[in-house]
Structure formats: C-alpha cells, structure tokens
Symmetry: C2
Subunit: 335 residues, 2 copies
C-alpha cells in the first residue's frame, strides 16, 4: 500500500491534521515506457512547502485540494521501464509526501556517488545549498573584509551562505534561535553567533557589526530583518530567499512605518534587494555548484547538520516543528 | 552685494523662513589662481536638497547650520584667474542658493553650445535627466512590450524616464498630480496618464496595467508605491531615486503591514529594488548620456517642460511649491 499526505484544507497560520491528511491507496504501477517506480527513502521538508499549501506563492502553482504535498526526496528505484535506471539505483525526485511514486525517468537525477550520505543531495548539496550558493555568488558577492549577516544560519541555506561568505574572506554573523544553534555556528567558524530570541538581540547585532552589514541573506523576515535594516551599509546587497517568520506564527506584527523605512533605506544606502527562487537559476550554475562544492563538503571546509527523523506518519508535526525552528539543521524524514 | 540663503534650523516637515534665511554679504573675490567668480543666472531647485537641509541623507554630507544651501546653477563667469574660462562664459556649477560664488575652474563645466536653452543643462540634459537615463539604462532596462510606470512623470526625472521607456518600445503609464500634468503627459505620447490625486487612482492604475508592471521608477513613495506594488510582475525592476512624499507633508501614514508586503512581493515576484544616487554613476555614462540624448532633445524625440520663476528672494517658497507638486516641469529660478 501507498501512504500519502494530501491537502484537505488550505492553512491560515500553521498547518495541522485538519489541513494535511494521511490517506492510503494502492501502490502505483508503471504504465508506459521510460518511467520509474520509486520508493521514498528520504523526504526533504522545506519552508517553501508552506506557500504551496497556503497558495500564497506567486511563482509556483499551489498544491490543489486533494493533491499530494510536493517535496524533494531521495528515492530508490524499485522498477524501471527506462534504460537509464535500474532497480536499486538512488535518485532525487520531486516525489512529494508519499511512500511510493511513479516518475518519468527524465525528471529524476541520480544521487552522485561521492562518498557522502545520499541525504546531502537534499540539503548541503541539494536545493537548499544551491539556493545559498546561487544567491551569494550571483548576487550577494561578499568580499574580503566585508560583514555578512545570515538569518536561520544553522539551516541548510543559511549555513551554506555563511560558510561561503567566510571562505570569501568576509566576517560572518550568524543568527539562529537558541544556545545549541549558537554553539554549532561557533563550531563551524562563524565569527559571531547571535540568538534572535534574546531580548538583547538587536543591541548585540549592532555591537557585532561595528562597521555595518554589507550582505544580508534574508530568509526569515520579522524581527531579524528589522534589526538588520538600520545597520546596512551603502551598497549593501540583500538577497531575499524566504520569509519563514511570515508563516510560522512567531512574528509580532511589524511596527508602523516599516515599509517607509525599507524604501528610505533602499534609497539612502543605495541598497539592492533581490528576490530569488531556486528554480530560476540556470542549470549551468547547478553544475558549477556541484563541481565547486562537493570537494569542500567532503574535506570539511563546508560543514553541515542534518536533522533526521524517522516517522513518516508524523511528517506534518515535523514540518511545523521545522517552521518553528525546533529543528537543528536540514530536516529530513527517513521513510 | 551677495545674497545667500543659509540654513538657520533643520526642517522637520516642509521648510520655511524659520529654516532658510536670506542674508546679505560682500561679493566674494578671487584670491588664488585657477578660480572663477560666478554670477548665478539660473538656480536649479531639486527635491534632494530637502535631505541636505534636514540631514536625513546617508549618502551626502548635510548642509551645516549657517551654510549656504547647496544646488546646481548655470552661472556666468565674471572674472577668471584660469586659462580655461573667460568672462562671459556660461558654466554649470554647484553654486548653491546665492547670487555670486567663487569656484575652482576644475569644478565647473561649460554649458554646451548645442542651440538649446542653457537651462536644459539643469534639467533634461542635466543631473535630473541623467538620473533617469542612468537608472533606466543601467537597471530598469525596459524592453518592447513591457509596461513601465513612472511617478512624478512631468518632472525632469520622470519625463525623461518615461520617454526613454517609450523609445525602447514599452507601454508607459505616467503618474502625476492634476489634469494639466495629465494632459502634458498625453501630449508627450505617454500611453496612459493618471492623476494620483483622484480617489480612483489605484483602480485606474490597475485597469491601465492589465498585464502588470515590469518597471517602476520610484521617486515619490507613498500612495503611488502602494498602488504599484501589487501590480508588479515577476522580475520587475524598481529603481528608487527619490521619495518626495516622505517630506512634502502630503503623505498619509502608510498602512500597517506595508513592510511585510514589500518583502513578500520582493520574494514572490523576484523583484529587484535598487537605490540610486546620481553622483555614483561613472563619468563615462554621463558622456554617453549627452552623446545620445542631445540630438533627441533637439529634434523633439524627447520633450521637456521647464518651470521658470523670477524672484530669487522667494526661493524657499518656490522650493516648497515644487515639493508639493505645484510646479509643472523642472523648477528653475532665474536669478
């Protein structure tokens, strides 16, 4: 039998079992040539999925009611009607929140045989790592001596962005929630690690950036953004790749005047704000990402943390925990 | 005798005679080699000056209390200790709000002998026109078939930006205050001209942009920006070159949540917001601007409007009128 999480109702605020329902159905079968029957081994849970559930994303079709929740996975090929893959092969695919799926062979990618855990293809060397790489190399472009601030810095995007900035010679301030995450950031070599839950966060950020902030990777919004904004230097770059605080139920209402403050800062500091969606980067950059980063991940120049959980039937609760920041590193469900 | 407007007090809100005081002093004299004694013929009044008075600009030193208000002017050389200029020559200089000034010869530029009024060196072919040219060619980059919206569209920046966009084949929506300005925009060939003072402005803007907006030149902020924001297309570009509504006393307080809406739109639409200051563009672009645009201005491909007023002693009132939008075109005081 297959087990799938389907969308029953669009969430407003955090999703629950009212919105995500576990349904059982027959295992799918191959019907045409060049298809693969896949068994999900590792399911990636990422903040962007919230936008697909809530239909708040302008850049991608939402999950429709009754449909399986979208998501990347590392899957094992069980059956193949394609010459490209054989049973036993591991591939990444957009399998979604389900145990079994069928995919055209040309929509999956072989998990590289690089000596690393296959789960890295969902995190540090997958879509989240690539998002950080692309945003920082194509737009953030930190240089030696600059100060870079990264939100959600232990997450798979933030950790890559921060470490790339360090490798570029920048001074890096990592922002995350709680002492355990702070310690992880310091262990990874972040110059400063700040807990955004501290009542002194804003003052500490200011103290940690005596020369201002040149690049800020925005993935959370809310209080972190409000604290960063006045510290941005002339010509600072702000790649915007997510706004988790908008939909994890933790953000306070923004103070009045924030919109005007943003625009005034854009003008006065000649900021660049640029929104990014990973799917729009050119494929060549993805190749370059792998060519450059695989070695660095293997030799420990780029560190990463994965948060593996075992119970697929608890995926909704694991997802909400991740949105709330109760994870440590890349959240992956072992199916 | 010289007459100068000096800063007595920093304005909060619109400036008045309490802030800008007319003082008389001896006419300055040449003291060293390579200097020019200049008589101001035309003084340019531009919104950015407010930031220098109020010390709200991060990118330029404010006018200090007791100092002459800064500003570009077309001046006549009265005396010269430089081989480069002779009495009678017309130059542009940063003379400020005064009748006479002394400037090193290498800080002025000869007014081009191009058959146009010398006042064009302060507007359509001066700093405002160049601001629009640089922001649109270096960043906005409208292409044929795209929709471009321009705020303060009869002003010297907006009019240049809108007409450049039309020449690039874009559909251009000009926004300005009042019927007279609307008519001017239509006469200039703007595809749509909207009065932002109309209670139906927001609905009319939406109706005028059925395919959304690809480029928005931001110079006013406030209600126009709030109406444009939801209409921006994927990958829209928003050069930010001014925010007049922030300091002309006309803007309503922004609604709560605007800051979050801006950031969400940046992410969802993958917007580029980019602040610009004219002084930071490379000098080569200034040369290219003149090479490309002078002919277009002369043959009427680029239209412009100047608002010339005569009484230098009324400069503060003329300046406030301009901030309020009571001018029609580039505001210049004939001294």
């Amino acid at each position: 039998m297959n087990e799938q999480f389907v969308l029953r109702q669009r969430p407003v605020g955090l999703p629950s079992r009212d919105h995500l329902e576990l349904v059982r159905s027959a295992r799918p079968e191959l019907t045409v040539q060049d298809e693969l029957l896949l068994r999900t081994r590792y399911l990636s849970l990422d903040p962007y999925m919230y936008g697909r559930m809530a239909a708040t994303q302008a850049y991608a079709a939402p999950v429709e009611l009754g449909e399986v929740i979208v998501g990347e996975a590392v899957s094992e090929v069980l059956e193949s009607s394609s010459g490209l893959y054989s049973p036993g092969d591991l591939v990444t695919s957009r399998a979604g929140w389900q145990r079994y799926s069928v995919a055209p062979a040309n929509t999956v990618n072989r998990v590289p045989d690089n000596g690393l855990s296959p789960t890295t293809a969902l995190g540090v060397l997958g879509m989240p790592g690539f998002t950080a790489y692309a945003a920082m190399t194509a737009f953030g472009r930190p240089t030696a001596g600059e100060t870079v601030a990264v939100a959600a810095a232990t997450g798979p995007v933030g950790s890559m962005a921060g470490q790339l900035a360090r490798l570029a010679g920048a001074r890096v301030i990592g922002v995350a929630g709680g002492e355990q995450k702070r310690n992880l950031l310091l262990e990874w070599g972040f110059d400063v690690a700040l807990d955004h839950r501290s009542p002194y966060f804003s003052a500490r950020l200011q103290a940690a950036a005596p020369e201002g902030i040149d690049v800020y990777l925005e993935s959370v919004g809310g209080a972190v953004w409000q604290a960063v904004l006045p510290l941005l230097n002339a010509h600072a770059r702000v790649p915007v790749i997510g706004l988790v605080s908008n939909y994890n139920g933790t953000s306070e209402p923004a103070p009045a005047g924030l919109g005007e403050r943003i625009m005034r800062t854009v003008l006065q500091k000649r900021l660049s704000l640029q929104g990014f969606v990973v799917g729009e980067f050119p494929p060549e950059l993805w190749q370059r990402f792998h060519a450059e980063l695989t070695g660095w991940v293997k030799d420990g120049s780029i560190r990463y943390q994965e948060h593996l959980l075992d119970d697929f039937t608890r995926a909704p609760e694991i997802f909400v925990d991740m949105l709330r920041g109760n994870n440590l590193g890349k959240t992956i469900v072992r199916v």
